[in-house]
Subunit: 158 residues, 2 copies
Amino acid sequence: MKILGVDPGYDRCGLAVTERDARGRDSVLASGCITTSPNDAFEQRLLVVVQSFREWIVTHKPDVCVLERLYFTKNQKTAMRVAETRGALILAAHECGIPVHEYAPNQVKVAVTGNGRATKDQVMNMVQRITGVVGNSGFDDEYDAIAVALTASASLRT
Amino acid sequence: MKILGVDPGYDRCGLAVTERDARGRDSVLASGCITTSPNDAFEQRLLVVVQSFREWIVTHKPDVCVLERLYFTKNQKTAMRVAETRGALILAAHECGIPVHEYAPNQVKVAVTGNGRATKDQVMNMVQRITGVVGNSGFDDEYDAIAVALTASASLRT
């Protein structure tokens, strides 16, 4: 099963495709981070993200698309734009016929590190240890996308 | 100038097309409310809303699409889904080449009633008085869509 993990954002959007081999080991087939220009209007940045996302679907033909659930914290305006980006991505996946699953942040932390209160760095380190991947983009979003894909891999198996 | 006003939602989504005549009077060319089934998954409801929205764009050829800005209040989960729907609609408008504008709730209240603290009923009554429209759908969302279109009509003129 090929899993497309997404860390949604309109500024940066992490993407990762993982696959589990016969021995139950997850490998990362591709990972990266889409970035958009702060000089562009929000709707244009949204379009850039969704177009790249659709290209990843065409290229990698995932069986499922998974996202981390978003909770609102401090910056409402940013959170709103991220939620809007999530919606555009969820629709794009559905229009491509790809089922969408969502996982809570603590589910991701438990699946990857065994600890629901793990820090961002702990998640990133475990992602590197599990998959051997050293991200290309230099952005956390890439690791977060891998992390949610690994969560789905463990969850969908059981 | 034809304005497509939207009151975004995945449960119900209000839509209205207004146009201002030579004497500066706004008329409502069409208004209604898309409804989706609570039995469907969110992504399917999102698709139903966005497909109808695209049909309205094709049918009415608006020059601009306008939405009321959303603020998070009590029910985070619902607000998140509404924000996601907004994002899918904003992208759909942009992909159709329609510029998108957003207005704060108090801008809408001021534009329609002259009072930034107007109640929902006061806005609805003024929408009926200004446009002569009695909504077909029986849902507030239809009036809210007209209200934001009227706001844009006043704002884009000045």
